[in-house]
């Protein structure tokens, strides 16, 4: 089968062209990193099917990063290259094009973001460009799918002009001479959104904007999440589902081993969706009515932030602080992802260049960045005791993030390279890709979390039944009760935290803890150990030795911080 490679600089809309060609749903973002693991799909080329590969964004074929090395490897396996070029920044993009033309592979150029050239005052002589490059050049607007049909028609006409190999300087000189012949730029004034773009990377205005963006994002996430819970999901469960479960409970005799697994404990004559802990009560209520609403609202807001191009600006603003933690500004992106789920966050630490940075970032995320599922439970349970307790949980995690980062920066050897990133212009997020991404992430949560949650509920009930938890609880009582000030049964929740942290926090609900104990429990649960899914990716990304080190740091930090909180509260 013919193998078509989509290649181009980062931020040129390559992934959007990919989804136009293949019709496959892919994650499209404004920042590089999401395409480091490449995507493949299929498209029809005349009568035949052809494979299309979305190669990670690359500026040059002389690799400077891991992603560019992958791109170079993939180039050797392809049959045709569709070189996606940003028409508004032809000069820099043509360097890669010329490198491709020196290779023995047919190329067709997609001149993307074509619509922006007009109002930016850029005039490109297409015929002359085709003639100088010796390959088809098709103007496209991937967002609206303009020019995609012509692009597909021209893929079979891809040509390889076999230009002789040049040195770097010769190649830049060649780019310059092409630009002189094909591009004419008329002067124009700054538009209002360019002024806004400049303001967002200046210390004062940028800082105010970042604060405004983060606070309003947080409020929107809360508002959407809370509204979904109070007006949609909670009423559904209470009014429609509760009577059904009660009928079933009666049919099953109102108690017994099987009843407790399926329905859970009946508390003062009623099922309690949080505390009953059966498959049909907590097993469904926790994921669907407590966690899912926050997953949806968090990923909606994150998707919008990604696709407007704000995140690289946040990276610039945070760079100075992140340097104190041994990271550079770009590490803020995996950290924000971690507020959704730690698994993609740990995977995203790959965008950081050095091993040292990846270790520090991954360790900090798994200790101090609670995932959306855990946060939803913190809001639900701790929030019921008063907003100030939620603030204490978040404040503690934030302080731990900073202090632990400073310590790791001192102790971990190696170097952290400097920030060097392109800042894409602000764009209105394309709703199609925002919603596609939201759906993929929500679907991912449901598929991965629901089986584990239901499994965990069954396992917990069985272990309870055989008294396993009592044995563990008695064994660990000195630490849990003495150091953390929690009832000894709380250890079961901490153990279950390895499966799912949201379920684990739910297990603290029936213990009638004081507000202070709930705070200690939430913080310890967040920091003590990653959930199994995060554990697996950490192991893969860090290796066994570093994973053990990270785990040691996690347990020590959780016990120290939990102990201190217990003394204070």
């Amino acid at each position: 089968m013919t193998k078509i490679l989509l290649m181009g600089n980062p931020n040129v809309g390559k992934s959007v062209i990919f989804s136009r060609l293949t019709g496959v749903h892919v994650v499209v973002s404004n920042y590089p990193g999401t395409t480091v693991s490449y995507t493949r799909g299929y498209t029809k080329l005349g009568e035949e099917m052809a494979e299309v590969i979305d190669v990670p964004g690359t500026y040059t074929l002389e690799p400077t990063t891991e992603a560019e090395e992958i791109a170079l490897q993939m180039l050797k396996t392809g049959d045709i290259v569709v070189n996606v070029v940003n028409a508004t920044n032809l000069e820099r993009n043509l360097y890669l094009t010329l490198q491709l033309l020196e290779r023995d592979i047919p190329v067709v150029v997609a001149l993307n973001i074509w619509d922006d050239t007009k109002h930016l005052g850029i005039n490109i002589d297409l015929d002359k460009l085709r003639q100088l490059l010796g390959v088809p050049v098709i103007p496209t607007v991937a967002i609206t799918s303009e020019g995609i049909k012509e692009l597909v028609e021209n893929i079979p006409r891809a040509a390889s002009p076999h230009t002789p190999a040049r040195t770097r300087n010769q190649r830049w000189a060649a780019v310059g001479s092409i630009i002189d012949k094909v591009q004419l730029i008329t002067h124009r004034h700054h538009t209002w959104h360019e002024h806004l773009a400049d303001a967002s990377v200046k210390p004062l205005t940028g800082g105010i904007m970042a604060l405004a963006v983060l606070v309003s994002s947080f409020m929107v996430v809360r508002f959407i999440g809370e509204s979904l819970i109070s007006y949609v999901l909670d009423p559904l469960f209470t009014n429609l589902w509760a009577p059904v479960v009660m009928r079933l409970s009666d049919l099953m005799g109102g108690g017994g081993f099987l009843h407790d697994i399926v329905v859970g404990k009946v508390i003062s004559g009623e099922v309690n969706f949080v505390e009953s802990f059966g498959l049909l009560t907590s097993g469904l209520y926790v994921p669907f009515a407590m966690v899912l609403p926050y997953i949806v609202s968090f990923y909606l807001v994150l998707g919008i932030l990604e696709d407007t191009g704000y995140l690289p600006r946040l990276a610039v603003l945070m760079d100075t602080i992140m340097h104190r933690l041994g990271l550079h500004g770009y590490a803020i992106i995996p950290t924000l992802l971690g507020l959704g789920c730690n698994v993609p966050a740990v995977l995203a630490t790959r965008i950081l260049e050095s091993k040292r940075e990846r270790f520090i970032a991954a360790t900090l995320i798994s200790i101090a960045v609670p995932c959306a599922a855990l946060q939803a439970m913190i809001f639900g349970l701790v929030g019921a005791q008063g907003g100030q307790y939620v603030a204490i949980v978040y404040g503690t995690l934030f302080v731990v993030w900073i202090i632990l980062g400073i310590i790791l920066n001192r102790l971990v050897r190696g170097f952290s390279p400097e920030l060097l990133i392109e800042i894409p212009p602000y764009r209105l997020p394309p709703w199609r890709t925002v919603l596609q991404k939201l759906w993929m992430r929500t679907y991912g949560f449901l598929v991965e979390a629901i089986p584990i949650i239901l499994g965990a509920v069954v396992v917990i009930n069985i272990l309870y039944f055989f008294g396993v938890f009592d044995a563990i609880a008695n064994f660990t009582a000195p630490v849990v009760t003495g150091l953390l000030g929690l009832p000894k049964e709380a250890v079961t929740a901490i153990a279950i935290g390895f499966l799912r942290k949201d379920v684990a926090l739910g297990m603290l609900a029936p213990l009638s803890l004081s507000a202070g104990q709930l705070v200690v429990g939430s913080v310890v649960l967040a920091m003590f150990f990653p959930c199994i899914a995060t554990f697996v990716v950490l192991l893969r990304e860090l290796g066994v030795v570093n994973m053990l080190k990270a785990a040691g740091i996690m347990i020590a930090t959780a016990l120290i911080v939990g102990g201190i909180l217990n003394l204070i509260l």
Binding site: T64, T88, V316, D319
Partner: protein
């Protein structure tokens, strides 16, 4: 010797424009900067810099690029 109109990118003020004349760094750094369009002969405008040795944002060929302070210290610019 730097003449008076030649300063490092890190020391430029926001809004100043100039031409890159030299990148004083190893092959890797030169390569990374070149890939983003920053090379001798290029006209650049400094947009801003963050406080406390934070990154420097410049515009080159209508694209904005943020450069860590240390790296910006190695880029020599001739002011207009």
């Amino acid at each position: 010797m730097l003449d008076r109109k030649q300063i490092t990118l890190a020391r430029m003020h926001g809004g100043q424009s100039g031409t890159v004349i030299q990148i004083r760094g190893g092959h890797g750094m030169v390569n990374r900067l070149n890939a983003l369009g920053i090379m001798p002969g290029k006209r650049i405008t400094k947009i801003s810099s963050m406080l406390m040795r934070g990154p420097v944002t410049i515009e080159v060929d209508r694209v904005q690029v943020a450069i860590g302070f240390g790296m910006a210290n190695h880029v020599i610019v001739k002011l207009d």
